[in-house]
């Protein structure tokens, strides 16, 4: 039996989420299928939410985590400048402050039709390390904004 997550030609994003939930759990990850079935929570060093966007010829696994920031929005320009500084100096993911002023981190894995355990493990580990690197490297920059 293949250990890979085989999604074939399916463009069904929700079916991919459900299949991924079971597959990752079998690999030993702590996963939670969200009640609406649109995302899977994956618990590691951080709490990630993961969903799929599948189009003909390419699928994308999209993984996000959020960190609450100070709800005082007095210095949103400062937060935008910090997010841009991170995006322009790292090339590992996408970072922004969302409508609630929380700091968001996003990592995207495009793939053809199957995920192998090795590709997924390396991607997840890389994403976790990327978040840690940014938090540590910019700890002082985040301090005025974080809750």
């Amino acid at each position: 039996m293949s250990l890979n997550l085989e999604l074939g030609d399916s463009e069904d994003d929700l079916a991919a989420v459900a299949a991924f939930h079971d597959w990752a759990q079998n690999l030993g990850y702590k996963t939670t299928l969200r009640p609406d079935g649109k995302a899977v929570g994956v618990r590691g060093r951080y709490g990630f939410d993961l969903h799929f966007r599948n189009i003909p010829g390419m699928k994308r696994l999209i993984m996000r985590c959020y960190f609450p920031s100070n709800p005082d929005r007095a210095d949103m320009p400062g937060r935008f400048a910090l997010a841009n500084q991170i995006n322009s100096s790292f090339n590992i993911g996408t970072f922004w402050f969302d409508a609630d002023a929380d700091f968001a981190c996003q990592f995207v894995l495009p793939f053809q039709d199957r995920l192998t355990p090795a590709l997924w493990r390396e991607f997840f580990s890389f994403s976790e390390s990327g978040v840690t690197q940014i938090i540590q490297q910019h700890a002082e920059d985040f301090r005025p904004f974080m809750a």
Partner: protein
């Protein structure tokens, strides 16, 4: 024929291999000014780099850069705009880079081999999605970029 970078840890060597492979696939490529990237002509001109890692995933990074028009929005307004783009789309990363240009970046991680089909779909996707963003935000980008 897949691009095989098994056990390759040198990013310059991996980038050279990727460039030759792209030529074999029929893409128009040319030197990018450094040993760590090259230019690939898709629907747009992409700067292609490759971060090699023999023990983890390799990563292809495709970047497109536009000069911001001198009479465009203030820097704070641009930073608000790219933050809005990053929160609205899950396609790629938008930023105002260290040279003050508008930059769009796509990432393609892969383990040790890359298929022509996935690479072609990745470039097509980058071309198409960037075109979609440019069209949707024509009000800002049409006037704001050179």
């Amino acid at each position: 024929m897949d691009l095989d970078l098994t056990d390759v840890g040198d990013s310059e060597q991996a980038t050279r291999s990727l460039r030759e492979w792209c030529t074999q696939l029929g893409y128009r490529v040319k030197a990018g000014g450094t040993d760590i990237n090259f230019l690939l002509q898709g629907g747009r001109r992409w700067i292609i780099g490759l971060k090699a890692n023999p023990t983890e995933n390799h990563r292809i990074i495709a970047t497109c850069v536009f000069r911001i028009a001198p009479n465009s929005m203030e820097r704070d307004a641009w930073l608000r705009f790219v933050n809005q783009l990053n929160s609205s789309y899950n396609l790629c990363t938008f930023c105002v880079n260290t040279e003050g240009h508008f930059e769009i970046q796509y990432n393609l991680p892969f383990l040790d081999k890359l298929s022509p089909r996935l690479f072609r779909n990745f470039i097509n996707y980058a071309d198409g999605s960037l075109g979609m963003v440019m069209e949707r935000h024509e009000d800002v980008l049409g006037a704001g970029l050179q």
